[in-house]
Symmetry: C2
Subunit: 321 residues, 2 copies
């Protein structure tokens, strides 16, 4: 477990962007659970960090100076900047271009960004809940879970969330508009789930894996679809929380792995739709926001403890020039 | 582990069939691995047996006398008779009617029966291998695995088997016509599998579950379909050989549970097709056959040790009246 003493705020001279590179200024830094694993080298494509390295992180940033033909000063992008106020990056580190007219800038790392696109892939490409079907999603207060449920509501499904506190459940039902949300830390949560899903779960979006996923098997309706989205703790480890698949066979379940990058070609279309839904109040994600990079560690530690409510965002610098 | 002393051959008077019942004579008794679990009450719908009970088993049998309107003397059926030369059964114990013109009678518990229909469900309803795709099947020498591969060959797929001895691998390639078969007891079997599937596995039919299934994840091509058919040892037990699903997410795999009863409405059509394929030599299953009910225990023990090669059949009585 990390604590505040593991973080240090240091000032260093700005490097100059080489050809093909650009200088960007961080506006909103996204804090995400996978970063904990990435720090210790347990996440694909990320080497373990050593003392003095910049912590991994994506942010919405503004291009200040560009030596790349595709991007120019004043553009907004989501990029792998790490926890920095400014960064010099290759264009290859850019995850998406941001249209500032589509919605509040910070939503580019939320409902108008990868978390939203993940939900889009789950609901529109894999789970495909139909009118009146019941969709259940774990980590329902988070940016992916929250979007999954709201997109499923737009398709006419009944939507039940699972979350880890009464406050999160309130957010899920009152703000996100789910039909119900169950606190899985209550001892009778499975009874509550059964009551909420009297004819079983047709689509289960899983953000957890392991024994939690396994517990859901008996609540599935026949031929249920399970979207496996959360990378279980076992992904890059010898120890793992394995799943017994027998009960899933009994339900004739279909378990499908989701990787968001598969839907990159759908991003523009999704953002355009989601932008309308946000304006119409049909797609909402609460943010848990702090101001100033120096406050990132406390919010990150809160996220690690599962105590944050909503998408964790650090407002690092001004939106405009 | 059972041994020969656990079995006893006893003679008892024949009961008379009540209204709705019928008297049948066993012709071919099928020996199947699930029976071991059923005996100790570990298989759905089967109570644990006590000393003196008849052992569970399905057979091809001939109706001798019938008090049911749908069946008449001389009909052949597959039914839950247990290990008996004669049985009085309810019509509800009948699994399928057998058309003796469709093929050799014993194939009604093999390629023209539930094992074949299981393969049909796997290949034609779930896995759907396309021309040139690679399908891999475990327990390839068995009646389900053998049919899965042969049906996939008919669809134009490349087919690789996995089996537990050189003799079984020979059967799979020389008789069943698979493109290759790998002995998973050889230490370099995963290397051999990689060589046999240079661009990965598109469809994997799993008859094993647990850590064996898990080992296959890294050999899957992107978007591979996995048919989960073998009920893992964990199905009705607290201890289980769990599966880490992270690597399957990475491959965007789709894992689908198969239960053969879902395809009952397809049985007639399947048997008619499979009957032609058998006549044309395109669908073969080797039998491991003994004569006489008194020899059932030795063949069953061989099956439990994985030493039988082909579908285990006991020829109990004559085919004709």
């Amino acid at each position: 477990m990390l604590d505040a003493s593991d973080f240090r705020f240091v000032e260093v001279p700005l490097p100059r962007p080489a050809p093909g590179q650009m200088l960007v200024r961080t506006v909103y830094l996204s804090l995400d659970p996978y970063v904990r694993k990435a720090i210790r080298g347990d996440h694909p494509g990320h080497e373990a960090l050593v003392d003095g390295d910049v912590i991994y992180g994506r942010s919405v940033c503004r291009v200040i100076r560009s030596h790349d033909d595709e991007y120019k000063a004043g553009d907004y992008v989501v990029a792998e900047t790490g926890w920095q106020q400014h960064a010099v990056i290759d264009a290859t580190k850019i995850v998406q271009r941001v249209n500032p007219a589509a919605g509040p800038l910070s939503t580019a790392v939320g409902p108008l960004g990868m978390p939203g696109l993940t939900a889009w892939g789950s609901v529109e490409h894999i789970g495909l809940p139909t009118l009146g079907e019941t969709l259940v999603v774990s980590a329902a207060a988070g940016p992916v879970g929250g979007c999954v449920g709201q997109l499923a509501k737009l398709r006419g499904a009944r939507v039940i969330g699972l979350a880890g506190s009464a406050e999160k459940c309130d957010l899920v039902t009152k703000t996100y508009g789910f039909d119900a949300c169950i606190n899985y830390k209550e001892s009778d949560w499975e009874e509550q789930l059964k009551t909420a899903c009297p004819v079983g779960i047709d689509v289960y979006h899983d953000n957890v894996g392991g024994s939690f996923l396994m517990a859901m098997a008996k609540h599935l309706s026949l031929y249920a679809r399970v979207v496996m989205c959360g990378r279980p703790a076992d992904y890059h480890s010898d120890k793992f929380d394995g799943v017994g698949l027998g009960p899933f066979i009994g339900r004739r379940a279909k378990l499908c792995g989701l990787v968001v990058y598969d839907y990159n070609d759908d991003l523009e279309r999704y953002v355009s739709l989601a932008s309308s839904w946000m304006r119409e109040g049909k797609l909402k994600i609460k943010e848990d926001r702090v101001n100033g990079l120096e406050n990132a560690p406390q919010l990150f530690l809160k996220l690690m403890r599962g105590e944050n409510v909503g998408k964790a965002i650090v407002a690092v610098g001004p939106e405009k020039a």
